[in-house]
């Protein structure tokens, strides 16, 4: 091929890479651009108050931040023990038929669209929760957390079981030759040497739980309040962005969704940096 074509192709490849990387910067710039008047006006503090009441000038997004925090942490709390249990089953206890079947099911779960989880939950889980609490609509923090836990479980299980599988074989052989039972191997050898993988999986799952829109939008109830219990409705930052219908592009309401956007952006960046610190991407890329 002619040298000129080689040069041209290289330029094209470089341009594509720059374009892709600049999308991240563009997203950040747009969030800042649309919320900037608020920072300049000095009334940014008003957004970090407790009241969302556009008619009376209250644009506090703290309820949404608390809602996101509670729903996501609860989902993680539910998913973590199940995740570790299932990964241990797949990688240690049941390497035979059942373990392989479980892994297939988990891989299948990664292909289920979130909107379908939400749809089924409305007609299956929500009435059930309503019966249990005997009050409210059943669209509450607990319903959303349970479905969210189900959504992030595949991420947790697949990643932890890969971390378990990558424990050096001579460690396991050493444990075997000392007469360790499978449970002892898991508790004293596999978990201590795969702890970075476990933490990475949980951080990754936290990112997914915070970033998910559809489940909290469909079944968390979207109430503008700080939830006081499991049966209270709540609104997440993501749902707040999805719900906004502002025709006036200059209004503080409209700008406030970009503040929510900025918070989510910073959170994502933080997660990525933590994962880097844990060496997650090295594990991922060497797979």
């Amino acid at each position: 091929m002619k040298p000129s074509i080689e040069k041209l192709a290289e330029k094209g490849f470089l341009f594509s890479a720059l374009l892709s990387a600049s999308i991240t910067i563009l997203i950040f710039s747009f969030m800042v651009f649309f919320s900037f008047p608020l920072f300049k006006g000095g009334d940014i503090a008003a957004f970090f108050t407790l009241e969302w009441n556009p008619c009376e000038g209250g644009f506090g997004i703290v309820p949404m931040m608390v809602g996101t925090g509670i729903i996501a942490s609860l989902a993680l709390l539910i998913a973590t023990p199940f995740g570790i249990g299932c990964s241990a089953l797949i990688s240690v206890f049941s390497t035979g038929y059942f373990g392989r079947f479980l892994r297939k099911v988990v891989e299948f779960m990664t292909g289920i669209p979130t909107v379908i989880y939400g749809f089924i939950a409305i007609f299956l889980l929500v009435p059930f929760i309503r019966e249990i609490f005997k009050k409210g609509t059943g669209m509450c923090v607990l319903s959303a957390s349970i479905m969210l836990a189900l959504l992030i479980l595949p991420t947790i299980i697949l990643f932890i079981s890969d971390a378990f599988n990558s424990v050096p074989k001579n460690y396991l052989d050493a444990a075997d030759s000392l007469g360790a039972t499978p449970v002892q191997k898991l508790v004293y050898v596999i978990i201590p040497s795969a702890w970075k993988g476990i933490i990475s999986a949980l951080v990754l799952a936290a990112g997914r739980a915070v970033g998910d829109t559809l489940i909290s939008l469909m079944i968390a109830g979207n109430a503008l309040q700080i939830p006081r219990g499991l049966s209270d409705a709540a609104r997440t930052l993501t749902a707040h962005i999805a719900l906004i219908i502002a025709s006036d592009y200059e209004s503080p309401e409209f700008k406030s969704i970009f503040v929510c956007g900025l918070i989510l952006f910073f959170f994502t960046t933080l997660i990525i940096l933590v994962l880097r610190l844990l060496g997650y991407f090295k594990i991922l890329r060497n797979r």
Partner: protein, 293 residues
């Protein structure tokens, strides 16, 4: 550790496995139990005759046909934006990028891959507002904006799989072409990419699956409940995942609800098929790869 604790731990693991499979089983059984009866041609075409609907002679009003076509068009358009840029960027990162700049690209792309999809939707929405104000009064959230935003969403997947498929090739494959006098570009285009093509395609299919299932991006960038088949890039459109979301909050009759269940089964089948295909291709690529080294 005494026997009892060991037994408890093991029991817990088995219970969590069984609970997980049980939960998914119940969800799917519920979905299919409710939705299977509504799966027929009138779900898709409503009252319209099959051929007339397919050939766009008459507009399908009360069926899923416009939503399915909307989703398909959306997937195709987004992928057309994303493939060339994604593959080219992947090639750059794997073959050309120097050590100094690589961490910067990696950080940007990792953040992009981790950004919640609603933010990508908000970005698309902001772009359309910006263009509306500064370029033309006629630009509103539309099909074009949606497809571009979805392309941004899936770009990191395509870039990463392309990069990985090139980086992980054995040294002998990477250098044989060069030793025989091929130029750098020839080596990439005619040897490295064809060698691991199925891995790249698996990444693209995964991206297609993400386009098909994503709801958060499109709901901010122009999807509506009733629009028919889009007739231009600047018109609004319908899509299957949004239809499901809309029905869940806004159904008027039991019949409409049943159509929602039917739509769920259709979307689920599409997505699971795509993910399975991607998985098989990836596995085949890995197997071929290990037999050669």
């Amino acid at each position: 550790m005494n026997r009892f604790v060991e037994y408890q731990i093991k029991l817990f693991c088995w219970i969590s496995g069984v609970v997980l499979i049980g939960a998914i089983g119940i969800l799917l059984a519920f979905l299919f139990n409710k939705g299977i009866s509504s799966l027929n041609l009138s779900l898709i075409f409503g009252e319209t005759r099959l051929l007339d609907g397919l050939l766009l002679k008459t507009e399908v009003v009360d069926g899923l046909f416009p939503a399915i076509i909307g989703t398909l068009l959306l997937i195709i358009t987004s992928i057309i934006w994303a493939i060339p840029i994604g593959v080219a960027a992947g090639i750059y990162l794997a073959e050309y990028c120097n050590i100094k700049w690589k961490p910067v690209f990696n950080l940007m792309l990792d953040v992009l891959a981790g950004i919640p999809s609603i933010l990508v939707g908000l970005f698309g929405f902001a772009v359309s507002v910006f263009l509306h104000k500064h370029l033309s009064e006629h630009i509103y959230p539309c099909f074009l904006i949606s497809s571009l935003a979805l392309a941004c969403l899936v770009l990191p997947y395509i870039i990463r799989t392309t990069e990985q498929s090139l980086v992980n090739l054995p040294f002998s494959i990477k250098t044989t072409g060069l030793a025989l006098g091929a130029s750098r570009l020839q080596n990439i285009l005619f040897i490295l990419i064809p060698y691991n093509l199925s891995r790249i395609i698996s990444g693209i299919i995964l991206a297609i699956g993400r386009c098909a299932e994503d709801t958060a991006v499109i709901m901010l960038t122009g999807v509506v409940a009733m629009a028919g088949i889009p007739n231009s890039l600047l018109s609004q459109y319908e899509a299957l995942p949004f239809y499901i979301f809309y029905i869940s909050s806004d159904y008027n009759s039991q019949e409409e609800l049943m159509k929602g269940f039917g739509a769920c089964i259709i979307l689920l089948s599409i997505c699971v098929f795509l993910f399975a295909l991607s998985h098989i291709l990836k596995r085949r690529a890995v197997m071929r790869f290990t037999t050669h080294t």
